[in-house]
Symmetry: C2
Subunit: 180 residues, 2 copies
DNA sequence: CCTCAAACGAGACGACGCGTCTCGTTTGAG
DNA sequence: CTCAAACGAGACGCGTCGTCTCGTTTGAGG
């Protein structure tokens, strides 16, 4: 439908623009101006500025290798700490931290977008972690994965507390004890 | 600042109106019309329709007894299942389910509102649960509470799966094993 | 009961983004 | 070279924004 060059220009424009005006400051008119495109061209492919932003973020995150790297050294405790440290680093990266939380929370209102995120990013990542648990002989890998990630997202989304080293260590310890 | 009668009328209006038009359909103009009030009166006390809605929900939830009832029969496992069943019932209640998720996710963009929610509702509730764990001799009650609630909210907010009886039972089991 | 300032209802106002539309131009596959 | 699809530009009517006046209501202190 849309020419590849147009999509690239729009993606670049929305990622630049959102850093200036924030997620709520995005408008189709502003986006069209920034991308040097007509409004009709935007509406041809996207139905709101949030859809544009989501599409751009998804494209960039699958482009620079959205693969999941779950460490597997044989030592489950060590691997989990490494994994959680990596996730925490991503979640607290000053550059994208606020933006990612903004987008993720706003996505929840659009079932089709959160389903796509689930399918293309979160699903594969939790599956990879569950697979690591399974390889370690954990009985209920999916549920233990949820036990590992749930409090992480809870803390991050609801801002109920900081991610200190001590918190990460004892959280992993609790999960390991639950895993048996 | 605002007359009590005005606040009551606005609260009633926003709770009625949001069921007709949804959270995104709320506007200050529509709210003023529905409440039979001037726009200036609204702007005197609130800065956006979301602020009005949040205030109304908070008022109604603290009015009809926002107290936390954490069962304490002596049997921790049984009490936890009862507690989680109660929370799940609230989270999946057809009437308020979608509305609460909408409001809660949109709140995250407003740090002052989510801080108020944390302080006036979530904080006391998690504290009460942690206290129950402490009474049962759990070493790290706060973190175990997070282990219990994190996956619940994760599942609810991100819609990653349904709350079946089986899920609740094995989740509580895992948390209990982690608690030692 | 009277007074008077604070709070109020009503709505006018210019600004702005919405989503739709037309129109003339560019582009690339056949 | 051709020609339809995609495009850029922007006009259009509409609704909401947040601010602003203006005259009316309200209730506590004299």
């Amino acid at each position: 439908m849309a020419r590849p060059s147009t999509v690239v220009r729009v993606h670049r424009a929305v990622l630049d623009l959102v850093r200036e005006v924030g997620v709520d400051g995005l408008t189709m008119e502003g986006l069209a101006a920034a991308a040097g495109t007509g409004k009709q061209t935007l509406y041809r492919s996207w139905s709101s500025p949030l859809h544009v932003l989501f599409d751009a973020l998804l494209a960039s995150s699958t482009a620079d290798d959205g693969r999941v790297e779950v460490p597997d050294s044989g030592d489950l405790a060590r691997d989990l700490r490494t994994l959680v440290d990596g996730i925490v680093d991503e979640l607290t990266e000053p550059a994208g931290d606020a933006l990612m939380r903004d987008v993720l929370t706003r996505l929840q209102v659009h079932p089709e977008l959160s389903a796509e995120l689930q399918q293309r990013l979160l699903g594969p990542q939790t599956a990879a972690i569950a697979e690591r648990f399974r390889r370690a002989g954990v009985v209920d890998p999916e549920q233990v994965t949820e036990l590992l990630l749930g409090p992480l997202f809870h803390r991050w989304l609801l801002r109920t507390g900081p991610f200190t080293d001590g918190w990460v260590r004892s959280h992993v310890e609790l999960v390991l004890r639950a895993a048996g």
